[in-house]
Amino acid sequence: MEIMASIMKDHILQLLKEDKRIDGRGLEDFRPLTVETNVIEKAEGSALVKLGDTQILVGIKVDLGEPFPDLPNMGVITTNVEFVPLASPTFEPGPPDERAIELARVVDRGIRESQAIDLEKLVIVPGKLVRVVFIDVHVLDHDGNLLDASGIGAIAALLSTRIPKVEYNEETEEVVMLEEYEKLPVTRIPIPVTLAKIGGNLVVDPNFEEEQVMDGKITITTDENGYISAVQKSEGGSFKLEEIAYVTDLAYKKASEIREKIPGL
């Protein structure tokens, strides 16, 4: 461990003995959260999320394309995350590293497994032509807990998405985009909630300094129907079964608080 991180860890652990955190929050408090949608006019949907000093911009682009051969009656969603170097001295230019890939896959799972988007409604010609939804997460400022900010941004951006209606001419096999717009069929609102383990303590929504010294973390994505759609223990460290039960309960509670801050809900 770097020297500064080791001094910081002692300090953070000392504070945690009295249930205090380095930025003055309680163990179960999120940082202030704001979500603003429709911030990029050229994108079909977008959201800017500020979680404390962490800033994430999510853009949604929607194209027409072919479905997967084994899922002819479903549209396609893909999630990509870029850790652009302007966001942190720890980010370097280049293709997504393992952190960005893991983050994208957990956000994707949360949305896909809850069937938050009704993919069957994205089919134009079964087996041939469907809508392809690209969820692109751009990290702008990294002050910790990028996963929750990205997941919140992704679902907020999807809710804000408007796509042109299309008409398909079976004889000419041509697709005509209409001037009329419709919403994406978003049916559920999955929200990820992450807790970090530092020493024997669990803290929700870890900031950058806490992430530097944590042993590991766990993310639980839940929807408004009381279902879990993704779980990911990440980095090192370990958890007891009782801690998993506690984290799950807190994830439901925090997710319902966060849901109220999403525009248009």
């Binding site: 393992e98 896959r105 279902y227 223990k233 090192g236 460290g237 958890f239």
Partner: protein
């Protein structure tokens, strides 16, 4: 999860699964330790139709050097699937799935290894999936943990792993490929059994809190059975050495 074929039942009216197992039954598991000559430690695990080889190199000098840590070793994990390991040929090299799995496996093994003993070095773990049939990450962790022990690397405990999931609306142990494809959820878990520490936990699917916790508990039970097999495999290796020396 893929669209389930019409009428396919994963659990029949007598409670048997497609491969003849009961709900809480593991697939057949075979383990062997010290199977490779070049590696510092190695293990081979057959788990149902999964065939997994793991090797450990290290502690050894790190390349590139800037990765070295002044106070401990670093652990590196590469999970890789052979192109012929699955039905449709897998393009060689890391895809996004392998990158994520390598990262979570590292997180699952790291708490067990006493890295502080070997500053400025790396311990490199290579997991090769030779044949895949769902549950490769838990089989890979199980094999890697044995390979670490075989390499003589000090550990707080072995790491044992197993998955549980939901098929036809019921929580079941150790899903095979068909069950994973057409089931409702998969929950891989790794533990350090001595202290019941959970070092890997993922969930892919759609479960209530009760179902999720039931699956975690079931997977822990499975991992404990796997742990016994790991200990037997290690004991067998040393018994063999004793016999050879005795001769």
């Amino acid at each position: 999860m893929m669209g389930k074929p019409e009428g396919l039942k994963l659990i029949d009216e007598n409670g048997y699964r497609l491969d003849g197992r009961k709900k809480y039954e593991l697939r057949k598991i075979k383990m062997e330790v010290g199977v490779l000559k070049s590696a510092d430690g190695s293990a081979y695990v057959e788990w149902g139709k999964n065939k997994i080889m793991a090797a450990v190199y290290g502690p050894r000098e790190i390349h590139p050097k800037h990765l070295q840590k002044p106070d401990r070793a670093i652990l590196r994990v590469r999970y890789n699937m052979a192109p012929f390991s699955v039905e449709e040929r897998k393009k060689p090299g890391p895809d996004r799935r392998s990158v994520e799995i390598s990262k979570v496996i590292r997180g699952a093994l790291e708490p067990a290894v006493i890295l502080e003993l070997f500053p400025r070095t790396s311990i490199d773990i290579f997991i090769e999936v030779l044949q895949a049939d769902a549950g490769t990450r838990v089989a890979g962790i199980t094999a890697a943990s044995l390979a670490l022990a075989d390499a003589g690397i000090p550990m707080k405990d072995l790491v044992a792993a197993c998955a549980a999931g939901k098929i036809d609306g019921e929580i079941a142990l150790d899903l095979n490929k068909e069950e994973d494809n057409y089931g409702e959820a998969d929950v891989p878990v790794a533990i350090m059994p001595i202290k019941n520490d959970i070092t890997l936990l993922q969930m892919d699917g759609y479960l209530t809190k009760e179902e999720f916790l039931e699956a975690v508990k079931l997977a822990i039970k499975g991992a404990k059975a796997v742990y016994q097999k790991q200990r037997e495999a290690l004991r067998e290796k040393y018994l063999k050495i004793v016999e050879e020396v005795g001769e």
